[in-house]
């Protein structure tokens, strides 16, 4: 039963990893940009929620409705002012600019909030749980996290494949020059995509902050988890990314059962094994 428990908890944490990954995967799909600062933006969102909660006494989970729009606006500006200038045939500028941004955000957070680890308190919901059978119960918060991940990914999927905006984004993704000829404004579309990505980042950041302690140095590891979920699931497939997050979460949970030191290692090893034996990921995009 301990093992079943580890697997169930791993699946639920996988939802959080899928949230880390969804924003990353989205902007890569639209503009082939890998945002190295993605993890640090998640942590930044967690601190924004912290500030918001301290100022207004709001429940952290409701702070999503304040932080997400802010974060999305910041994403729009970030893309317009910074990343749009780096996009082109050369892969170095976007990579190095986002790496620089990552270091800047980490150290700015360190200056403003110090290196102390913090946590958001969401009240009674944190300890509420639903007993399933003897020795196995599901926490309400992890369940909420997982359901949020499914809803978020479902919404992204709907946006991409059933709305005019999604059509525009897919068009620029397929061929930006032709999309421009058809009257799309790529720079604006990219900025919209970054805004959506950062709205998802805000959701992920708040769950990160409620679930466990966080500090300014946590970003790179969130980036790595998200990235591993994307690669395990298969590039360009959002539901695959959710599956990738779940696999990563379960691997870490089982690793931790063997030895606490093996928690992170087990996740990385699964990722490396996928890379070695199935580099296209478990569920690569199939498109007609």
């Amino acid at each position: 039963m301990v093992w079943v428990n580890a697997i169930v908890q791993g699946i639920l944490v996988g939802g959080l990893y899928a949230l880390f990954a969804a924003g990353l995967s989205l902007i890569f799909g639209v503009m082939r940009l890998v945002n190295i600062a993605h993890g640090d933006l998640i942590v930044l969102a967690a601190y924004m929620a912290l500030t918001c909660v301290t100022l207004t006494d709001l429940n952290p989970l409701l702070a999503i409705f304040v932080v997400a729009p802010f974060s999305a606006l910041a994403g729009y500006a970030l893309q317009r002012l910074l990343f749009n200038r780096t996009l082109g045939a050369d892969i170095l500028p976007p990579l190095l600019v986002s790496f620089g941004l990552s270091v800047i955000i980490q150290n700015a957070l360190l200056q403003v909030y110090s290196a102390d680890s913090r946590k958001l308190n969401a009240g009674g919901i944190e300890i509420a749980s639903i007993p399933i059978v003897q020795g196995l119960s599901i926490g309400v918060l992890p369940l909420l996290m997982f359901v949020t991940a499914i809803v978020t990914i479902g919404a992204l999927q709907f946006m991409f494949y059933a709305t005019p905006l999604g059509r525009a984004l897919r068009a620029t993704s397929d061929d930006q020059d032709v999309a421009r000829l058809m009257g799309y404004d790529n720079k604006h579309l990219y900025a919209i995509a970054m805004a959506i990505s950062l709205a998802v980042v805000a959701i992920a950041g708040i769950f990160l902050a409620v679930r466990s302690n966080f500090d300014p140095a946590l970003g790179p590891q969130r980036l790595i988890f998200g990235f591993e979920a994307v690669i395990i699931g298969g590039l360009g497939n959002l539901w695959g990314t959710l599956a990738g997050g779940v696999i990563l979460g379960v691997a870490q949970g089982l690793g931790a059962m063997i030895d606490p030191g093996w928690q992170l290692l087990a996740g990385h090893l699964v990722f490396l094994a996928i890379l070695a034996f199935r580099p296209e990921g478990l569920f690569p995009r199939v498109e007609g």
Binding site: R32, L33, V34, I36, L82, R85, T86, D90, I91, L92, P93, P94, L95, L96, V97, F99, G100, L101, V103, I104, Q106, N107, A108, L110, Q111, P220, Q221, L223, I224, F227, E228, I231, G261, L264, L265, H268, L269, F271, L272, L275, A276, P279
Partner: protein
């Protein structure tokens, strides 16, 4: 009459001057222990370490487009190999430096088969994962103190040099030797036919491949060289520190972020870039060191600004303005316009 209407040259007037200055500088540095105090020697040692790491990273990113954010994997690996060799195999630390290089070269081959499956930015994060794995494995190595690390036993420290001065001199000279060897290796590699292949890859991978360059093997060769170099430098870093721990050995800030900033600011894809970048880095560091974390914010912002507005770095600006090539790796065609006729 039949004399060719052009000549092909590699050296430039300024490259001869640069070579002379480089030799003078080398002589000054080699005699360092006789005229520098302990703090300056430590500073120069650190300067050499960053110069070596930046030159190797420049080789990877600037010439083969392999942007690795995981070279700290090999810096830390080199350090751990040195400690392992000295503590368990009884190999003298100075001899363990080439051992670390060879071990890293061997290890980097299977790793390259994994990470080369990822392209561009995903390669960057993939190398980072590899570095994380190395760090987690090192934390599991109980004989090396696990997560808290270990100090070099005093008997081994004494075997480097019997007094503190002698030890620091030995480490200084070895660092100088390894860095100079790395720089010469990078220079010669870029001038060889592999270098021509690499520059072709930098300009266009597809065109290079279709002209018969084996892109995959050229990149792999470069990766192995860069990893072996990073491991040798890493072994020296921790020989000087006398102590190693997973978090310091595999620090992404110390061994990769600074190195990337140095190369970007100096001029990526130019052999002179890391030299200029390292000098600027140390000037900035010595003037802004009381700023603490904001020092990194300043450095990061400068690197971002350079990438946006002068992507060829400071040396690129100088080169565009004056056309200087201090360490020429390419060849130039000189047309003999005064010999008209033919």
């Amino acid at each position: 009459m039949n004399a060719p209407a052009f000549t092909i040259v590699r050296a430039t007037p300024e490259s001869r001057i640069a070579l002379a200055f480089a030799l003078l500088g080398l002589a000054a540095l080699a005699s360092g222990p006789y005229w520098m105090d302990r703090n300056s020697m430590r500073l120069v040692g650190e300067f050499l370490i960053y110069l070596g790491l930046a030159s190797l990273w420049n080789l990877l990113a600037g010439y083969a487009g392999l942007v690795s954010v995981g070279q700290q994997a090999y810096v830390g690996f080199g350090g751990y190999v040195l400690f392992g060799c000295a503590m368990f195999l009884g190999i003298p630390p100075l001899l363990a430096v080439p051992v670390a290089g060879a071990a890293a070269a061997l290890l980097s081959i299977p790793v390259s088969y994994l990470v080369f499956r990822l392209k561009g930015a995903y390669f960057a994060i993939g190398t980072w994962v590899v570095a994380e794995v190395f760090m987690l494995l090192a934390s599991q190595w109980q004989a090396m103190g696990g997560g808290s690390g270990v100090s070099l036993p005093i008997a081994i420290v004494r075997s480097i040099g019997s007094t503190r001065d002698m030890r620091e001199q030995m480490i200084y000279w070895t660092t100088l030797g390894v860095t100079v060897a790395v720089l010469i290796a990078v220079y010669l590699l870029l001038r060889s036919r592999w270098g021509l292949a690499l520059q072709a890859i930098r300009d266009s991978e597809i065109a290079a491949e279709s002209s018969g360059v084996s892109v995959a093997s050229a990149k792999r060769l470069l990766y192995v060289v860069a990893c072996a170099g990073a491991a040798m430098i890493g072994s020296l870093i921790f020989m000087a520190k006398l102590r190693i721990s997973p978090s310091s050995a595999f620090s992404v800030n110390d061994w990769t972020a600074f190195v990337i900033f140095i190369t970007v600011i100096g001029g990526i894809g130019r052999i002179e870039g890391p030299v200029i970048g390292t000098i600027l880095f140390f000037l900035l560091r010595e003037t802004l060191s009381d700023l603490g974390a904001s020092y990194l914010i300043v450095l990061g912002s400068v690197a971002v600004a350079i990438m946006l507005f002068a992507p060829k770095g400071i040396w690129g600006l100088v080169q565009d303005k004056f056309g200087w090539q201090l360490f020429p790796v390419g060849r130039r065609l000189i047309l003999n316009t005064n010999k008209e006729g033919a």
